[in-house]
Amino acid sequence: MNAPHVGSSVRRNEDERLLTGQALFVDDVHLDGMLHVAFLRSDYAHARIKSIDLSTARSRDDVIGVYAARDLGDYWRPGPLLVPPPPIERLEFHQATQVPLAKDKVRHVGEPIAMVVARSRYEAEDALALIQVDMEPLDAVVDLEAALSEESPRLHEQLESNLAAHVIQEKGDYSAVVDKAARVIKRRFHFDRGASAPMENRGVVADWNAKSGELTVWDTTQAPIPIRNGLARLLDLPEAQVRVIAPFIGGGFGPKIMMFYPEEVLIPWLAMKHGRPMKWIEDRQESFFATTQERGQIHDAEIALTEGGIILGVRDVFWHDTGAYDPYGLTVPINSQCTLLGPYQVPNYYSEFRVVFTSKPIVTPVRGAGRQHGVFVMERLLDIAARELDIDRVEIRRRNLLAPDDFPHDHEIIYQDSAPLVYDSGNYEAALDKAVEKMEYKKFLEEEQGRLRAEGRHVGIGIVSYIEGTGIGPYEGARVTVEPSGTVCVATGVGTQGQGHFTSFAQIVADQLGVTPDRVHVVTGDTSKFNWGTGTFASRGTVVAGSACHEAAVAVRAKVIAHAAKALRADPGDIELVDGWVRVRTRPESCISLGDLAVRANPLRGAVTPGTEPGLEATAYFGPERGTTASGVHAMLVEVDPDTAMLKILRFLVVHDCGKVINPMIVDGQIVGGVAHGIGNSFYEQLHFDKAGQLLNASFMDYLLPTATDVPTVEVDHVETPSPHNPLGTKGVGEAGAIPVGALFAQAIEDALGEGAPEILEMPLSPNRLFELLSEAGYYNSPSQQE
């Protein structure tokens, strides 16, 4: 038997195409006669559309078509509610989903108003300038709390207020324990917006073949099958006549999910209307308005503890900014609500949130999807509690961690997947111990920090814990086929955006069929190759689709053994699959290649035995009972230069538990990439909106993605507690790196500044903001600054 490929750092199958410029991305699709589309977008955050004059633009020779909402006829309708709210008692939810083109009103800057079809993108953009839109500006809705006041302008006239949802979840009775607490700590926390900012912007190409009645759409989506199904419904076509292809995608990070973005719905419509291939590629400036964003929340939180630092309960009331529409339901705030509990024993919990419509771009999950906020609030409360109770930061965490025998652990509230929040497995203290030891936490605090301070250097250490619900249902499927060449083909319905699915799925299948992963050809994201599935989100690709691949491969393996036993006249129990050969264990010279066996399994004469299927092929579906609970600890050493308010990260460590690791190289890559995103969200990236709802930094010049000189080398280590919920024992990892970084920055910076440091209750920070906090804390008035 070959050494298993699962668990080893197999080089990626997809890399060669990507490295040589041969991988197909959506903007690489060129079709004969293709036309190009550009969108006219609102400059105003909130305004009534009084009139739209398309005549000048239409009169240009190089313009093929110009459309506003009224030209769409019946096709104009609000988008679907993508994720209905979970069944939580007393839940209040008001649906308002985005429309293809604004008709009467615009509700955020960048909302599309009209579109131009031309022979080139250049000409289409020329014509945009000729469209006259008469708008009556309305006051913008920006501040979350003010948005819910009586006086606030209303975004959606059909609703009574800007309230999109109101949810309360409770466990135990917080109000009963708060009086008994030795210490209650209350703070207000702010988290502001960031962009997902994949390097590839969105794009859609659509091709309508009137003769065959087939529509083909290339789309930068994380979820091609739901898009196919939705487009078929919208365009009144059989699902079988619509093919959606998500080819190579240049990063997703959440917003490329099945959004039914206006452009996603309109480009296929235009292709059918004009009978010509149509292309729209989002440019970077558009992406800052037209692609969904995340992270605006305000929390009023409190924690009740004993003198010994044991958590009695937590109360959190928060506001969540959903932007102008709420197509993604409550996923993000429920993630915040559920993730706040972290790896801790929290016997009493009161959590209430309000989701608020604002005149800003739409909010849907972005890498972490609300979990950041929960972790930030809980970890900050524990840091403050540690300080006030004079308990070491690590120690207060240790005293509250769930123990390895506490699993499954039921938190008695409902998670985003509508299932109860039950942790499946974990070993939190082991991860914390590992981080403490590797960072030499005690030695740093007792020896190093003082010595550095004496040299005038402000260096601090941070160490935080988190959990992450991953790998949720409902299901994914996969089909595994052995071809006559011996190549194994795997098809699944998920899309892939750089997570290495071409390789990790290949490893899973290779181990079952006794081939090397490079002999396994994986196809993802093409609805003509696999018909069922949901998509890549919530750190679920490898967990759910990977498990489906595993199940299908197991079924094919059984077929291989059955056929081989017959062909080789051996006992099925003696058959082994090695190096692409199927042979009898006791007499290896008696063998047949996998490819030849595939030929035999598909006979051209004779008869296939009734009750069996031709070929070495199987399809399997996997639907986990509930999600898996990944967890981890992040630690860092940071140096602060208070004179300039600039930071330097000296060391960064992640100890992570994603259960069974399929490919360590890929898993570590996911974690490190997530950390970089988290560093961005903590100190570089912030979407600044003014009171009129204008985004003030809609370019890569002012929206600062961290570069190679900003992200340190990240050390990664693992704790492995396999999940009982899937055959591979794996848990998701795509978002983990990004989640606790804000909390880590806050703690480490405070530690670096030492006595008199400002309390950091907000993310993201920046040098400018840190300077303000230091100024407010009186740092620049202190004698040490005056000398």
Partner: protein
């Protein structure tokens, strides 16, 4: 993000370029390296009717050491300036500053003349030219003239250049004796526009006192900003740590009137100026051979 249509000319000689510029005065933009102009055009915030590409004007490219100092053609790329041993020898401050300008891919296309004529208040080179007391050679189809860097910058993105004129050469006098130079800036990320930057030169007399202190800052005003108050304060005095701190305070509180934006408030810019000016003067004094600082 595609540029609007424009007419394009690529003259083969300087004379041709000047004639085109005169013919299209007001509606033509000279295209040097294009690393500021083209992104502006891609955003359609700039829509010149005519572009005059200076890319083939080899006469405007090159670095020469003359008797009076360094001559640099306006179309010389940042990379060529950065890598030039002659520049390192005759204008160490310029050589030291070059790596701070954006990134290598930009420096490979961007030109020294383009940057100086663009007059962005966050650009490093105008401030450096003030400290180096550079002279700019301007050409038009009516003749040529020389303008001192100090007279060249007249306001926000505004220079002494007339619409029909081209910046052709930059002349930098040879370094003075007992003079030390230094440059420092703080940017959000490597290669970004600086939040504040400082270029400085300190000339000491034989007794180690300040003969002349020249400081110019970027990103704190409409263009490069000269710190005259600090220079006056230090003139004739021994550059002690205390005096340097005092000079930095004068710059931060009196010599500059910085703007605020989403990356840095007025107060933060003053603080950065305070820190950087002290660092730059200190280093310049050390390089000039001074001991005290």
């Amino acid at each position: 993000m595609k540029p609007a249509p424009f007419a394009y000319h690529r003259p083969g000689t300087v004379e041709e370029a000047l004639q085109l510029l005169a013919d299209h005065a007001g509606e033509a933009k000279p295209l040097a390296g294009g690393q500021s102009l083209i992104p502006t055009m891609n955003f359609r915030l700039s829509q010149p009717k005519v572009l005059i590409d200076l890319g083939k004007l080899d006469d405007l490219r090159g670095i020469e050491a003359g008797r009076s100092g360094l001559h640099i053609g306006a179309m010389t790329t940042h990379t060529d300036v950065e890598k030039s041993p002659v520049v390192a020898d005759l204008a160490p401050l310029l050589a030291e500053t070059m790596p701070f300008i954006a990134h290598s891919q930009i420096r490979n296309r961007g030109t020294i003349g383009g940057s100086l004529a663009h007059a962005d208040p966050a650009a490093e080179l105008p401030a450096v030219m003030l400290v180096l007391r550079a002279q700019f050679g301007l050409l038009s189809n009516r003749g040529h003239r020389r303008v001192a860097a100090t007279d060249f910058y007249t306001g926000l993105f505004t220079t002494a250049l007339e619409p029909h004129e081209l910046l052709a050469t930059i002349e930098i006098p040879r370094p003075q004796k007992r003079t030390g130079y230094a440059f420092a800036e703080i940017a959000r990320r490597h290669g970004d526009y600086a939040l504040v930057g400082v270029a400085g030169a300190v000339t000491l007399d034989r007794k180690g006192r300040c003969d002349a202190v020249r400081l110019a800052l970027l990103s704190v005003g409409d263009g490069p900003v000269t710190a005259a108050g600090a220079s006056r304060l230090m003139a004739g005095k021994e550059p002690t740590e205390g005096l340097i701190r005092e000079a930095a305070e004068v710059v931060a509180t009196r010599d500059i009137d910085p703007p605020s934006d989403i990356h840095a408030s007025v107060a933060y810019r003053r603080q950065l100026a305070r820190v950087l000016v002290a660092r730059v003067i200190g280093q310049a004094v050390r390089r000039a051979g001074g001991g005290a600082a």
